[in-house]
């Protein structure tokens, strides 16, 4: 009964979404307040209905209701509760339901927090959100019903793919979708602005927090996926340039560019047309990511043609959304008034170059991902575009970005001087050169590449530090006054600093791990000793272990430094009988500078066991760096100036136009981002 209730709520949500996509649009055109109010209420109602629907599906999973086909194929009564819940979105139908639930949540949030928005703009944003909702709800109701019953009900389920029964992957989809779908708000704002024919600082000020929230979630979602691959796939890789990964990485690149270009619109009223286009592109790439992952087009164009129903539906949806919004852009964008002037060497100029390289990087990833599909579809030619291609093209495109990243935040708006900038950055330049030299001498292999990567990271960190120090150099010159200013800097300044510092840390982690990791792969007997990166690892043997829904072999590997035992690692091989699958569970000892990563394999005929022992230097920095980046995003989001939508705010804080009116207490006015 509850399941039918959920299904009914889903269909009702579709009906509400249809109303939401039409009436507020009409209301905005006719300046009809009642229709606008309907849009707001519809957005809340759609969210509430989808919330009920999602709750009903979760209920079916939690209670292991095996009369629901989706529960049968993705759950099992013995599965731990966490994975019963994550099983709701660990499959196609459930994940699409989560997708629209998040979409409706964002729509509802715009309706709730958008009291300061011009009425017509808000109505149109809500209307566009409604249209996206209609598309995806139709998709779910017509092709991917999560509530389908199965009669007679089997006694137990077929279990969730064991690879997905993992904490990293349990939370990976929700964050990824928060990111994907969060970009829908920027998209809706862009479309609404094109209909209105006006983009101004207030618009950018509205788009930025949503983009920032989406970007932070996407960053976290991608990192969770990467982290999962690192410890679950059993050989220490964390990024594969796999089309599924690229599908999430492209919206991230576009969102990063959008974050930066929206600053220019907000502060200087320039780059408006480009920013609107970026907002459209960012969400289009999210849609394409969903299409790529969900349609089966990846395995082969031919595999897609075998079961085309869902794929074709998403393709049509994609065509309407992307084609429609781009057509609207081509029609309306020329009307957008060009704004503020600036010199090539200026903050705006720097942000423009940032956008150039991010956009080209994004286009390169897009091309590399789609090229094999196009070649197969057009010329029936099978080619591969793999990691070597992406590394060879993507990394060079990042170099100018990294160089700019340190200098950009210090450049003045409108015009900046190169010589003054270099003078201010001289300490950073010295630190960078020193770091490069040290690495050149220390590194045993790939010294030049390692030196470049580490220098890039040090350069950005030093630049960030220089910027912060410069901002709080006080007139009195005392340390206390300086520190006081440091802590009173606007949170958006801290956000930028942390965001950039996070990237620097990730870059160093990537470089050092890619070039300097070492491993031993051997067939071991209990008692065998291995020397790895100054440690002695002793393989002690394997013992059986029972899990709730799996059986496992648990290996024991002791780690010695000299004669002192510093750790015992227990990698596992798990067998999940319901799905007949084996997974490897790496055991990892993380310290600040390195991971010791061990995996056990199978036994050979002589009873020896395959052991893989990896020393992965600086891998923890990938995760630290990402967390710092996300922290930067969240901090920036909490900046008072960006919290235009906060439900409770002081009377003076208003949207864009009265920027000078209410500077945050204690902060220097408009210290910039």
């Amino acid at each position: 009964m509850i399941v039918e209730f959920g299904h009914f709520a889903l269909i009702l949500a579709l009906v509400v979404a249809i109303g939401q996509s039409v009436l507020p649009m009409v209301g905005a055109a006719r300046r009809d307040v009642r229709l606008a109010a309907f849009g707001r209420q519809a957005a809340h109602a759609q969210f509430a209905l989808l919330g009920l629907s999602f709750a009903a599906l979760t209920y079916a999973f939690v209670t292991s209701d095996f009369s629901v086909a989706l529960v049968v194929s993705n759950s099992h009564s013995l599965k731990p509760m966490l994975y019963k819940i994550s099983g709701v979105w660990g499959n196609h139908e459930g994940s699409m339901l989560l997708w629209v639930l998040i979409l409706a949540a964002f729509g509802s949030a715009v309706a709730a927090f958008g009291r300061n928005l011009p009425e017509s703009l808000k109505s149109r944003v809500i209307g566009v959100q409604g249209m996206i909702g209609v598309g995806f709800l139709l998709f779910i109701v017509l092709t991917s019903n999560p509530f389908e019953r199965m009669l007679p009900a089997p006694l137990d389920g077929r279990d969730l793919n064991p690879l997905l029964q993992d904490p990293g992957l349990a939370f990976h989809p929700p964050f990824l979708y928060l990111g994907y779908v969060g970009l829908s708000v920027a998209f809706s704002f862009a479309v609404a602005a094109l209909i209105e024919g006006k983009v101004d600082a207030a618009w950018a000020r509205w788009v930025r927090p949503w983009t920032l929230a989406a970007w932070s979630s996407l960053t976290l979602g991608i990192a969770l996926g990467s982290w999962w691959a690192y410890y679950e796939l059993g050989w220490g890789g964390w990024w594969f340039w796999d089309p599924v990964e690229n599908a999430s990485f492209m919206p991230w690149l576009a969102a990063t560019a959008l974050l930066h270009s929206a600053i220019v619109v907000e502060k200087r009223d320039a780059l408006k047309s480009w920013t609107v286009l970026l907002a459209i592109i960012a969400f289009s790439l999210s849609l394409m990511g969903t299409f790529i992952v969900r349609s089966g087009v990846l395995t082969s164009v031919h595999a897609f043609a075998v079961d085309p129903e869902r794929g074709v539906f998403i393709l049509i949806l994609l065509g309407i959304a992307v084609g429609g919004s781009l057509a609207l852009y081509a029609w309306r964008a020329p009307d957008l008034q060009p704004g503020g002037l600036f010199r090539p060497i200026s903050r705006e100029g720097g942000l423009l170059i940032n956008n150039l390289f991010l956009a080209v990087a994004c286009a390169t990833v897009l091309l590399g991902t789609l090229y094999p599909l196009i070649a197969e579809a057009v010329a029936d030619e099978k080619i591969s575009v793999g990691p070597p291609f992406f590394n060879a093209t993507f990394i060079p495109l990042m170099i100018p970005l990294i160089i700019l990243m340190a200098a950009g935040p210090m450049m003045g708006w409108k015009r900046a001087g190169i010589s003054g900038l270099l003078h201010r950055l001289r300490a950073a330049l010295v630190a960078t050169a020193a770091a490069a030299l040290v690495v050149l001498f220390v590194a045993e292999t790939d010294a030049i590449a390692a030196a470049l990567g580490v220098a890039a990271g040090v350069w950005v960190l030093a630049g960030v530090t220089t910027d912060l120090v410069h901002r709080c150099r006080s007139r009195e010159g005392t340390l206390g006054a300086g520190l006081n200013r440091l802590f009173n800097l606007p949170r958006s300044v801290w956000g930028t600093a942390l965001g950039h510092a996070g990237v620097a840390i990730v870059v160093m982690g990537i470089t050092v791990d890619s070039l300097m990791s070492t491993d031993i792969i051997a067939a071991a007997e209990p008692g065998d000793r291995f020397e790895l990166a100054g440690r002695t690892l002793v393989y002690e043997g394997v013992e059986p272990k029972m899990g709730p829904n799996y059986m496992s072999e648990r290996g024991v590997i002791s780690v010695y430094k000299g004669d002192e035992k510093i750790a015992e690692l227990d990698p596992e091989r798990r067998f999940y009988p319901v799905q007949g699958m084996t997974t490897t569970e790496a055991a990892i000892r993380s310290t600040v500078f390195e991971d010791l990563y061990v995996v056990i394999g199978e036994q050979d005929e002589q009873g020896r066991r395959t052991v893989r022992l990896h020393h992965n230097p600086l891998v923890p920095w990938l995760w630290f760096g990402t967390i710092i980046m996300v922290l930067g995003g969240v901090l920036s989001l909490s900046d008072r100036r960006l919290r235009v939508g906060a439900p409770i705010r002081s009377k003076k804080a208003t949207t864009g136009k009265t920027e000078g009116g209410a500077p945050p207490a204690g902060a220097q006015p408009e210290a910039g981002d």
Binding site: L233, G340, L341, R343, A359, T364, L367, W413, M551, E602
Partner: protein, 161 residues
């Protein structure tokens, strides 16, 4: 009980695939082995979804790893081994598509895009410095009314403050 469990687990785990290169496939000479691994990273496991033969646990990947190591021991260089595999499996086996024929554009694209984008940036900057005196669009009467209401006066707006 423990013995039964051990036997049971062993029964199931026996001969199940393990990840990537196996000890018995590896070459004794570490220099040659690291060469084989570097080469293997550039070769696609043909039955997998974008995995290299070094990362895959498919049987075919294992066969190819052994094949690559055989060829290395026979004294072939990397280029010859790649040519041999391309002849056998087509360019599909190369994760790094060759910069020739239909994939030439793929390699040229990033450079072309940077050039085009750079030209666009220059144009934007030119137009920006040419278009003097064009400020932001003036406020509509509606907005001016709102502004007056919000500020309580007709105070000036300093957007670059």
């Amino acid at each position: 009980m423990k013995a039964v469990l051990t036997a049971f687990v062993a029964l199931f785990l026996w001969s199940l695939p393990a990840a990537a290169v196996q000890p018995d496939e590896m070459l004794a000479d570490p220099t040659l082995e690291s060469r084989a691994q570097a080469l293997g990273k550039q070769l696609r496991c043909l039955v997998c979804q974008s995995e290299s033969i070094e990362d895959s646990n498919a049987d075919l990947a294992s066969d190819l790893r052994v094949l690559v190591r055989e060829k290395i021991t026979e004294g072939l260089n990397d280029r010859e081994i790649k040519d041999f595999l391309v002849e056998r499996y087509g360019t599909y086996v190369l994760l790094n598509p060759p910069a020739q024929g239909s994939t030439l554009w793929l390699w040229l694209a990033p450079g072309i895009l940077v050039a085009l984008g750079g030209a666009a940036v220059v144009l934007i900057l030119r137009r920006k410095s040419a278009a003097k005196g064009q400020g932001p669009a003036p406020l509509t009467p509606e907005e001016q009314a709102r502004l007056a209401k919000l500020t309580g006066s007709d105070a000036g707006i300093d957007r670059n403050a």
